[in-house]
Symmetry: C2
Subunit: 429 residues, 2 copies
């Protein structure tokens, strides 16, 4: 009977068949210890010379790493074994003898690993990271689905920019041109006017020429949008959302976080409410601590880290100057220089994981901003329609999936948080 390694606890004392790949091996004369991974875990299979016929035993002795094999034997609990279970092998059948596997259990340079990403995925830490990624995604969807949000996917192929024209990927669209979506937000706004509370969650694209540990050209973003919500509603939603993701992942991914050697003490403190500071307060704090930043400038990685280091939890910085924010954000009625927006900055140097705002709901103000930002009014006429026909206060935010996974995993570079990262000069495999 085929069993996955993660199910072995249910099969102690039974004979089961495990199908997988040789991860590691040691041998002591008449006994071989084969570590077999099957994607759900690693199990140690004990093969004695008596149990196997001689040629099979010898074949296993020289089996290269990542060869595929099927092992049948009785499952025993053993606390000393990695994973807690062992198989006393009665039969081993080799599916394929692998060629010499390029990735050893020793360390390799990052360029080499990226070039072999399709194989690197099999390594323990990569498996753990991808399992956490899947858990985070499920937590994200469960959060919104269970709160009455309707998933409304935004299109990828779009006629215009929504986050500045300098980072657009252009696509030949039959006899026309299109652009890869930088954000699903504008479409989510249309959907929110139809469905009340919505979210979109899909890949987004930024042709950024920057090579940093926080940037991918293709990354996933989840963007809730709520009709009749103001900035305070958006901030409350954001802190509840992030807290839910973190606590769900801590609960479900204990083993994976152990593999990654993640210290989870700080993550356990992530509960609402989060600290809130205004941009003005942040500037004051930064200049007092010697940062060279003037009122009106956006924060880079050093400023974000300096701010987040003051708090144990993610910190919500609100009301940035309009000048450094996107055209669709609503002006603060208390101070026309400011936008009703919020950035959530994660601890431990991860940086911004959420950008959100109340949206400009006045037609004439939005028209002015589109002109000021040199955006194509023609391709945004549909978006302006949302202000012509039943405009309402509304808002939402976007959370970058990979930065969030990197934060939870404690991963230095976000390239490890997506199966096949796309970066400047990196499109293969």
């Amino acid at each position: 009977m085929h069993a996955y390694v993660e199910e072995l606890a249910k099969h102690v004392g039974q004979e089961v068949t495990v199908k997988g790949w040789l991860y590691n091996r040691r041998s002591s004369g008449k006994i071989q210890f084969l570590q077999v991974r099957d994607g759900t875990g690693i199990v140690q299979c004990i093969l004695t010379e008596d149990a196997a016929d001689k040629s099979r035993f010898e074949a296993c002795e020289h089996l290269p790493q990542e060869s595929s094999l099927v092992v049948t034997g009785v499952c025993r609990a053993d606390k000393r074994a990695p994973g807690g279970f062992e198989l006393t092998a009665r039969e081993v059948s080799i599916v394929q003898v692998a060629q010499n596997y390029p990735i050893s259990l020793q360390s390799h340079g990052i360029g080499f690993l990226m070039e072999h990403r399709h194989l690197w995925l099999r390594s323990r830490k990569q498996v753990a990271t991808l399992r956490i990624r899947a858990t985070v995604i499920k937590a994200i969807r469960d959060f919104f689905d269970s709160r009455g949000f309707i998933l409304a996917d935004s299109p990828i192929l779009t006629p215009a920019a929504c986050e500045g024209t300098s980072t657009l990927f252009e696509v030949g669209y039959f006899d026309d041109k299109a652009y890869l979506s930088q954000s699903g937000q504008l479409y989510a706004e249309a959907a929110a006017m139809a469905l009340g509370k919505v979210y979109c969650f899909g890949p987004t694209f930024r042709a950024e020429r920057s090579k940093t540990r926080r940037h991918l050209t293709e990354f996933w973003m989840v963007e809730p949008e709520v009709a009749f919500a103001d900035l305070d509603d958006v901030m409350r939603l954001a802190e509840e959302f992030i807290s839910f993701i973190v606590s769900t992942t801590l609960g479900r991914c204990k083993e994976e976080l152990k593999v990654l050697e993640r210290d989870t003490v700080r993550l356990e403190k992530v509960t609402p409410p989060f600290p809130r500071i205004s941009y003005d307060e942040a500037i004051k704090m930064l200049t007092e601590s010697g940062h060279d930043i003037k009122w009106g400038g956006d924060f880079g990685a050093p400023e974000e880290t300096a701010i987040s280091d003051r708090y144990e939890k993610p910190v919500m910085v609100h009301r940035y100057p309009m000048a450094c924010k996107a055209f669709y954000m609503k002006t603060d009625p208390q101070d026309e220089r400011l936008a009703l927006c919020v950035d959530v900055i994660a601890p431990e140097g991860v940086g911004e994981i959420i950008g959100g705002s109340q949206r400009e709901d006045r037609l004439e103000v939005l028209e002015k901003r589109i002109a000021e930002n040199n955006l194509s009014k023609e391709s945004l006429e549909w978006y302006l329609d949302l202000r012509r026909f039943g405009s309402v206060p509304h808002g939402g935010f976007g959370l970058g999936l990979e930065r969030t996974v990197a934060w939870i995993c404690g991963t230095e570079h976000i390239r490890e948080t997506i199966p096949f990262p796309r970066m400047l000069y990196r499109i293969y495999p």
Copy 2:
């Protein structure tokens, strides 16, 4: 207290506030009946001249469709009211008086509706369709998540074709070129070798110049991939999967299916097992019933409909000729002309909703096929690596989301099953 229309059953006898848009209205002298939609449903609000001040009452009398408003009043159950509840309005506040709304409750031409898709979304049938879409997506993810599959997103930007080079969208990628993914499968295969059982679920792209009711240039596809699975495993997974989606949606979307006037009798019969016929049998059946098709040809819409009309449930047609299938499919060892593949054809003329197969796991056969199909071996070296390092029998399938939603909704054209459809000459809004 703000309440969504779908929650009104919990608030009978209480005063609540509903926030939404004017959907329809009738008036009989001193009483106005305002139908207000908020994305979760429609509620009738009764406004009497006594309750409102005079100017407010008059303003409501001339309020255009889709104006936004906030109504506070006591909630009463009334079986005659659409939705089953009424609000006796104590206060109506108008958020915005809409301009003349272009989409009346009368019918419009499809070109006009598509041009106003951002507003058309607010119509009752569109809301119902999108809510069903969200339910189908949740069912898809729940199915795999609860069966130990790990979500592993495939990249959108890829260096090469995997479903033929004639339908590729090209993207300028810095100083290089890339292509929009036609299928996440090849990457899912790599992920399956790392994680055992995986699925990817994201947008895929085909630059098809065909204008049919079954084609979009951008559509979502879910693609499970299982290590150590053969064609029979793939077929069993497919029939369980489809049955789960259909029964889950029937259970959760009763109201929406009613709005769409969907006869659900045939959907209720969708349970495993599905009928299985070989391509050879299908050809025999088609030629006997007068279809002009020769052995070796692929099926088009007329053939698919003729086959599916013979069955109540979706039908699984397996083992097509290799010549009409993709390079990565495994040859049938019983008959080298055939592929170990399966198409699942939905009833009621919907056509193929699943294409799946066991994958070719032999390096040298795969190399030959890549050459025969004029694909770039260089850009598929990583894929060949999966056969060099621990190749195992494996398989999976792809299910087209929009066709599945169209089938369940009984929608004639799949353009209504995605919030913002992309088709030949259709990139706006």
